[in-house]
Symmetry: C2
Subunit: 461 residues, 2 copies
C-alpha cells in the first residue's frame, strides 16, 4: 500500500468530481476454479485498489458525496478463520490503513444501499466484470445483471478515468518494478528458444520467474511460434528452427501495477534474411511511434503513422503496392496489422477496460474509427503527461485472413496477393514497449528489453 | 482426452442411473481477473470433463435420459476469433471427439430447456460454484442463484458421485503423472528451504516447475514457516533457522487429474530434537493410516485411529495426558489436529466437492460427526477399490486456539496447558500422501516423496 494520505486525497478528488449521491465501490471476492473453495490467486479490483489500497477479499465501500462520509463494509474473522487462514487484522485496522474511520459488517451494506434508494438518492456504480459482484449488485439494487452495464454511472466512470489516467510518481515507480520483472521474463524466454523446446516449458518457466519474485503475470502469457495468432494462449507446439517465437508477457508489481512487453525472437538464435526484413519494419514502426508520442498528439494519429511505416515497409518488400497514404486510409495495411498500436496501462494491463474502453481511450473530440484494424485501437485520444501507454506495432501473415481477403478480391490495388505465398508459414512479429508520456515527449518505462536484431541475437547466443 | 468410447460409456452409465428427464451439464466459461477479457487460466468443470473430455470454454450439454439423445451446445468460431485465438475445430468436430453426434448453437440451449420445463419434464442440474453459470441457469430455468443449491438434483448428484468415486486404469495413470509433478515440486522446495529465503521465492519457483512441465498446480500452494495455519496462502515471510517449512502442494496432469502432497522440512536442513519428536508422531499416524486403509473399512475409523496415534504420541511427549481413547472420543486431540485425515481426490483435488461434500464423503450408514476436528473430516464412508484418498495427519500448535481453550478450561483432564508454552512458536507439521484403495489394501500413488527425517535431511543436505 501507499501511505494513507494518498488514498484520502484520491477519494477527496473523486468526491469533488461527482455531483451528488452515493458512490458504491465493490471489492472482489475469490474466484472459484473447480469448486467454491479451490480458488484462483486472488486479484483485487483495480479501482478498489486505487481508492483504498486494500488487497483483501469480501470488502465493499460506500462514499457519500454530499456528507463526505466513507464507510468500509467487511467482517472480522472468527476462530475458525484464524485456524485455516491465520491471524488477521481487524476490519477497523484495515480501514485505518486507507484513512477510513467508519466500518460496518458486510450484511449492513444491503440496508445502507436500500435506504439510499428509498431516499431517492443516486447510487453510482461501475460496470461489473465479475458475476459474483453482478449478483451482489442485483441483491443491493434490484437491477438485473443484464441491465447493470447500461445503468452504470457515466459520471462515476468519467471521474475515475480522469483520476486514474495520469500516473503519479509512486505509481510510476511501481510500473518500473513491473517492467523490471517483465524484462527478466523476456530475456529468460529468449535464452530458452531453441529448436525442440516445448512452448509450455518456456511459458511455464517465465511464469515461475515472475512468481518467484512476487510479481505474478499481469495477463495470461502469449508465447507461440504461431505468432500470427494475436492472443495465442496455446503453448502446445515444439519450437522449430526457422520459426519465430512471439512472446507477449508482463508482470505485476507488489502494488499490482502492470507491465506488458512483446518481443519476437528467431528459434535457434539467428534471424533469416526474410525474417529480418520484416522485423526491421516493425522495429521502425515502434521507434517512430515512440518519437511521435508526446502531449497533445492523439494516439490515433500515432497509430496511423505507425501503420504507414508498416505499409511503406511492406511495399518495399513487394507485399504491398500503390500509394501508402491511400492504402492506410483504406485500411489495407490491416491485413498485416489487424490490431491497434496500444492501450492505456496502469493497475490493469488494459487500464480501466472494465469501465469501458471507449471512455478510457476516446473522448468527445477523438472518436473510435469504424474500420477493420484501426477499429481495434483501444486508445486514440490526445496524450497527456502522466499517461502510460503501450506501443506495440506488428506484422502478421494470417493464412485464413489472407485467403478470405484474396477470395473477396479485397484491396487488390494495395496488396500483391501472389507475393504472399512466400510468407504463409512466416508467423508474426510484434514489438511492444511501455511508454510514459512526459511534459515534452515520452520515455520508455524500464530498461529496454533487447530489441534490435543484433541485441536479440546476442542474448540468444 | 481419453478415447471417445470412454466418454460414451460413462454417459451410458449416467443415463442408466437417472430415472427420467433431462440432464443439464454446464461447462465453464473464462473467469475474469480484473476485466472481462483479462482472464485466469481456463479450468473446465470436472464433471463436464468426466463425461465429455472437452477442454473448451462456453460449452454445455443436455442428455435426454428417456430418448438417450445427447446434444452439445456451442458455437463455431468467426474470422475475428481466428485472428485473435487461432484456427479452431468446429463444434461438430469437438463433439465427435467425445462421441456426441448432435450439436446446437449456444443460443438454442435456452429454448431447449424451456421446452423441457413446459413439458413438465424434470431438468436435473448440479449445484453450481461459478456465478456465471448460476446466472445462466437462472436464465434457463428461472431459478434464482440463492435457490439453485436446494433445487439441484440429488438423483444426479448421487449418480455422478457413484461413477466418479471409483477410478479406472486410465484415470490412475493420470493420477500418477500428477503425482510425479508433485514430487518435483516438493523436492525443489525442500532444497530451497534455507534461512533467509523468502517463502514466495520458493512458492513461485515450484509453481513454475509445475507449469513448465504443463502441470499447473491443482490448488493454490500452501507454503509457510507458519504451518500452524492450515491453509496458509500467505508467502510473505523470510525463512528463519529453527522453523519448519510446511508445503502443501500438488499438480494437475494434462487430463486435469490432481495430486496433493504435504511435507514439512526443517529450515536449514536439520530437525531439532523437539521438531523430530513431534514429526515422528505425525509420520507414525500417516503410516498407520496407510496400513489400515482398505476396502470395507470406514475412513472415519481410520481418521480416529490416526487421532489416537497423535494423542498417544503427544501424551508421551507430555503435552496430553489421561486416557487416549477417552481423549479422542471427547475430541481433545483436535486442539492439535483440528482437521480431517483426508478427502477424495480425482479430477478435483477435493473430488466432487462442488456436488456437496456430504454426498461424496458420507452415506446413509456413515454420517458426519458433529464435533470440532472430526467434524472437518471430508471423507468418512467405507472405502472401495478404486477410491483415491489423501492421508494427511498433522500436529499444529495454534496460539490463538490454545489460548481460547485454556481460558475456557477446556479438556483440562487431557491437555497439559502449562507444557504448551514450549511449543508456542513451533508451527505445525502435516505429512500427506495420496492413496489408491486396491482389492486388499491400498497403495501410494507415485513414488513416495522423501518423508522420514533421514530422507528429508538427505534431500536438503
Amino acid at each position: 500500500m501507499f501511505n494513507r494520505e494518498t488514498y484520502i486525497e484520491r477519494r477527496k478528488r473523486l468526491k469533488e468530481s461527482v455531483a451528488d449521491g452515493i458512490i458504491l465501490l465493490l471489492g472482489n471476492v475469490d474466484s472459484p476454479m473447480n469448486c467454491r473453495d479451490n480458488t484462483y490467486h486472488f486479484r483485487q479490483d483495480s479501482t478498489f485498489l486505487y481508492f483504498f489500497g486494500l488487497n483483501y477479499q469480501n470488502l465493499a465501500a460506500a462514499i457519500d458525496v454530499e456528507s463526505g462520509e466513507e464507510i468500509l463494509f467487511g467482517d472480522d474473522f472468527s476462530m475458525d478463520d484464524i485456524i485455516w487462514m491465520g491471524p488477521q487484522e481487524s476490519i477497523k485496522d484495515k480501514a485505518a490503513k486507507s484513512g477510513v474511520t467508519k466500518t460496518m459488517p458486510s450484511r449492513q451494506l444491503s440496508t445502507y444501499v436500500k435506504e439510499a434508494v428509498q431516499q431517492k438518492r443516486k447510487v453510482h456504480f461501475n460496470p461489473l466484470y465479475r458475476a459474483e459482484n453482478q449478483l451482489l449488485l442485483q441483491e443491493l439494487t434490484g437491477i438485473a445483471p443484464a441491465q447493470q452495464q447500461e445503468k452504470a454511472s457515466l459520471e462515476l466512470i468519467h471521474a475515475i478515468v480522469a483520476l486514474r489516467s495520469c500516473k503519479d510518481a509512486n505509481e510510476i515507480e511501481e510500473l518500473r518494478t513491473a517492467a523490471a520483472a517483465g524484462y527478466q521474463m523476456h530475456v529468460t524466454a529468449m535464452k530458452m528458444a531453441t529448436p525442440g523446446t516445448w512452448e509450455q516449458k518456456i511459458a511455464g518457466t517465465i511464469e515461475g520467474v515472475a512468481m518467484a519474485n512476487g510479481n505474478p503475470p499481469s495477463f495470461p502469457i502469449i508465447l507461440s511460434q504461431n505468432g500470427e495468432t494475436l492472443h495465442n494462449h496455446d503453448h502446445s507446439n515444439i519450437l522449430e528452427k526457422g520459426k519465430l517465437m512471439l512472446v507477449d508477457a508482463g508482470a505485476q508489481s507488489t502494488e499490482f501495477y502492470a507491465s506488458d512487453f512483446t518481443r519476437t525472437s528467431p528459434v535457434g538464435g539467428k534471424f533469416t534474411s526474410q525474417q529480418r526484413e520484416i522485423y526491421e519494419i516493425v522495429l521502425a514502426a515502434n521507434n517512430r511511434a515512440t518519437e511521435l508520442s508526446k502531449p497533445d498528439v492523439t494516439y490515433l494519429s500515432v497509430h496511423l503513422e505507425a501503420a504507414k511505416i508498416i505499409a511503406s515497409g511492406l511495399k518495399e518488400v513487394g507485399v504491398m503496392k500503390g500509394d501508402v497514404e491511400e492504402a492506410v486510409k483504406a485500411g489495407a495495411h490491416a491485413l498485416f496489422m489487424p490490431h491497434g498500436l496500444g492501450h492505456m496501462m496502469g493497475l490493469d494491463v488494459h487500464d480501466m477496460e472494465d469501465l469501458g474502453q471507449v471512455y478510457v481511450g476516446y473522448d468527445e473530440e477523438t472518436r473510435p474509427v469504424n474500420q477493420f484494424g484501426t477499429g481495434a485501437l483501444r486508445m486514440g485520444r490526445r496524450l497527456q503527461p502522466g499517461f502510460v501507454i503501450t506501443n506495440e506495432p506488428g506484422i502478421y501473415f494470417i493464412p485464413a485472413l489472407i485467403d478470405q481477403w484474396k477470395s473477396e478480391g479485397k484491396f487488390t490495388e494495395f496488396i500483391n496477393y501472389d507475393r504472399l505465398n512466400a510468407y504463409r508459414s512466416f508467423g508474426g512479429i510484434r514489438l511492444e514497449d511501455d511508454l510514459l508520456i512526459t511534459n515534452d515527449g515520452c520515455e520508455l518505462i524500464g530498461e529496454r528489453i533487447p530489441i534490435t536484431p543484433e541485441e536479440v541475437e546476442a542474448v540468444m547466443s
